[in-house]
Symmetry: D2
Subunit: 336 residues, 4 copies
């Protein structure tokens, strides 16, 4: 029998991608889609792409109290899910796609998200949901915090180096993101005529995904990792590309490094190690993370490149991958 | 009286941008535009944008022997200008927009350009034409090698650090370029449906602009600089964005660094130090290089961001800036 | 038991979209993918997006003679399938995605395709495969000619008017297409820097899809229809948008017209009549054709707007919809 | 001596394009740039592209009362200039880039702009500023209403037919516009992720530019012209493309029609009659309108295609062309 699931905050780009994917998932039934401003409208009224594919309508979040689903997804803006999740914690399985429960250190949260954290008692309960790192723990979790989009691409790019203790303490990460990463609310920055035919960095040194990357890599490395994270906005709708160059003093060959990656990801269904630099084009609309490792011989530098679809492996797809593990389904169910 | 100028290799994207800019230049008269495959056609037949703006027609390169212009621009593919320039060297002022005479070390040329260099005797004669570094030398030069597009953005981003001896021996440079940088000849990589909605790195560790960057920064720093250079192809027509993150161990504040840049570029008319990360949008169709310096305090890292229009400051505009200096014109003539 | 299918000409954009969709189809098994220049490479080598999703490799078309599949798709350039299909006609079910067998009049073919037709005896045998017009006939067909991309959007936009005898004898059709419609072979026109930030009409009055549109509408209307067809190239990868304005002298209200469309498409699973102008965004990566009908009251004009994904409803998706009918599967199998 | 000019409403896309062009104009001095929300900021703070090119700052519109410029440009949202222009009418030369004074019929204005017109007494005084139609009248005008962007492309496409009395009473016009035409204020429709990789029609039959097109063509034709105008939003920043197909029953050959156009535009410096369909690429950043006329022989249809840059020939450039005429300058001054 199918599990019943509902989504809280279903009308943003992440939420609606989750709607799209859950409607096709063979093992679950999507019961309710809760939203704020879109409440009362059908999904197809807000997103015409859903015409003829679902009759679901966005419901007011006020209805959430009586929800009887087995599983709840939260796809709310930052600082919102911490207000609601405590009411459901322990009562049903929960996956939060927002940033409220990813960091273990509430001080870091408050520093980077510029907001108090009012549910700090749940921080230790939230399992960080990156299946390539901790599928086992996710499999028994009741409450999972889904990784951010940039961290997914960055952590997967560097995890094998961290695990094998060759990641330096300080690492610089250059990331490029499509505009859908900024959400559905219009702004000057995401206005077509400003974003098109351009590219620019933003939030240099202060982006809220920085401590998330440091936390995950630090756990793998068993030491404190500091990341200089430089995100850029690209004139594409979907996709993230990550570039990391690491000056390796010691004697690792390219084959050594590639072999570490191959081993680390030997059982990961959604990581692909490619012989050429990855293209965003090839991961868009999929749950894959493509990785390529090159070595600049003359500069003694390893270059790691990774790509994901920010709305899928960077959000809704990874959420479903986590749900699959939490519910005992095949990890790839509904994601092929 | 106006100087007369001609262009050899005028039908590619760089050549035609030069045509556009020289037609508007108040102090020169564009006499001849030589081309290979387009010879015999008017500029407007090949580029309809020129309709009603010029009657010039592309002439066969065979006509070049009798050219009487005061000044010759070469905008040829790699390995081509070295075959022709020796015939004109010493007879008139020459500016080469290609890569043949930028590197002083013929071995580096052969390694990175995969071709022999048959005019090595001229390498010491060619002045590297980056006015922000050596306007004086350019002013008395007979033969100038115009910098590459990526090197222009990268060197301008790092020159003040090199000059002030705080550039590390090894530096990683992440660059993003619009598709016009790949020229006018169609290819799978530049096919709209392959380049659009994507981004990917290419030629990691082997790009021919690497030694050019190292050479210029090394001269400024007075030591060998090794660059791990990672170029990426962006889905935009024009523009280059460069990102460099440098972990600075010592005590330079952001104000220190910004002050170094302000001083270094105090007389450079085309470098703008911006208070926010630069956008390609703001330099396109101009000869400016925009630079922003940020400091990631928590990671002790300086982040330098620079942008140019690859066809202007990265090619035709810088060529005219050099010509202005070589001919004793105001540096900004025809470039406002 | 699953039907076995193979694709002849599988390495172009249409062919590979068919590969993608057939790999997910629950009722068929994709056995062979034949190609010319890509023969010998795996699908994933040519299209990295297929890494980890299939081990299929492109085979030489020389192997086609021994093919034992139940069903053959042909996705070849114009003038090619007419050379091969006669060998298989009557031996297995065949669907041709090219233009060779869409027109009943060989003279029209020769005029618009600039080539002789060497298999004219099969023209009467080929069923034109537009399920919204003739699902019944397709259901019993052995050989189906899949419609062109532009004709699909244009015919679906106008069929109800033709059927109801209110389509004028002369109709002007303005169509806009994404660049993937021009195929995978690079050209000046589809070079990123030429197509991006532009739009232009092409093949005005001579496009080969013109007689196909006229033929289908003429059959529905029971009279000769002449179309002035003006295709344009848009700077997007996928999608077609069609705009037709018809000055209606008589008394049809907007409600009348909408009602005709609703009735005509009452059983069509992939046509959606929208209350607002359709967006290419909403049909991309789907098999839907979205249609909106507006009435400019002050100009007594009906405006019909339609959109499709040129590679899906305009090619591979419609091919599968036809295959479903030809094989007795549910019309929507593998297309949700 | 230079004329002094000021701009009221200088911070929108049209206003700032006017700033850019006027700063380069050899015969005028730009004195004041008035704005609402940007008042108090420098132009370079709002638009970093202006760094180092001007020290001008946006001033409050409250300062306008004391303005001493010879010439005032108004680039305000609809319904705004009618409130201010009456105060200056007769005191200095005025050019309005908005829609308030283009229509002679206040009823049409109120119908299409959904607002009352409170300065109807000035409607007869405003000269419609399309130099290709009435350069003489503009030359002696004190008050000119600059045409809309869509009307500029549409009217120039059809004026020779209207003038030669072969334009039918009813004409359908399909226009495509870049997103900058919607202005600088962000909205859902112009949000990058909604506009990119899409195209859609909007305001079918109710766009406010419809009566403007009808008015101008009607005057030329000497009869009432009704236009079914269908605008579409394209995923490009700048540019308009217009397509009109006219079924011509009588015996005009393509050469006849082309000859009419050549004659009509024989003295128009900014209209180019091209031998191939025009591309937006070729007019962007210029004041040209490119036109191509084709004839679909089999459908007895003339197809007229035109392109402009919506911000230049469709706004700021045409405004300067009008100013040149009004001030007795060469028509092309500052526009080359």
């Amino acid at each position: 029998m199918k599990k019943t699931v509902s989504i809280v905050g279903a009308s943003g780009y992440t939420g609606v991608e989750l709607v799209r994917m859950l409607l096709r998932h063979p093992l679950v039934e999507l019961k309710h889609v809760y939203a704020f401003s879109s409440a009362g409208k059908t999904v197809a009224e807000v997103y015409p792409a859903f015409t003829k594919t679902t009759d679901l309508a966005f419901e007011s979040i006020d209805n959430l109290a009586g929800d009887t689903s087995d599983f709840l997804f939260f796809a709310l803006p930052h600082n919102e899910s911490q207000k609601i999740i405590p009411k459901f914690f322990g009562k049903k399985k929960i996956l939060d796609l927002g940033g409220d429960f990813r960091l273990k250190d509430a001080g870091e949260y408050e520093r980077y998200y510029n907001a108090a954290h009012t549910a700090q008692e749940l921080l230790p309960q939230a399992v960080y949901g990156m299946p390539e790192l901790n599928a086992g723990t996710i499999g028994t979790a009741e409450f999972v915090a889904n990784p951010g989009c940039y961290p997914t691409a960055a952590i997967l790019a560097l995890a094998p180096l961290a695990k094998n203790h060759i990641l330096p303490d300080n690492v610089s990460i250059v990331s490029l993101s499509g505009v859908s990463g900024a959400g559905r609310t219009p702004s000057q920055k995401t206005h077509f005529a400003e974003a098109n035919e351009s590219v620019s960095a933003y939030k240099v040194g202060v982006h809220q995904h920085t401590p998330e990357i440091e936390q995950a890599l630090g756990i793998l490395a068993g030491k404190k990792i500091t990341a200089a994270f430089v995100p850029h906005l690209l004139p594409i709708t979907r996709g993230i590309h990550t570039t990391v160059a690491i000056h390796i003093m010691n004697n690792y060959t390219l084959a050594d490094i590639r072999s570490m990656y191959a081993q680390f990801y030997s059982t990961a269904p959604f990581v692909r190690l490619l012989p050429e630099p990855p293209r965003i084009l090839d991961v868009n609309h999929t749950n894959y993370c493509d990785i390529h490792i090159a070595r600049d011989e003359h500069a003694d530098t390893i270059v790691i490149l990774s790509t994901i679809d920010n709305l899928i492996k960077g959000a809704a797809g990874q959420a479903i991958q986590n749900m699959n593990l939490m519910c005992g389904f095949t990890e790839t169910a509904g994601l092929a």
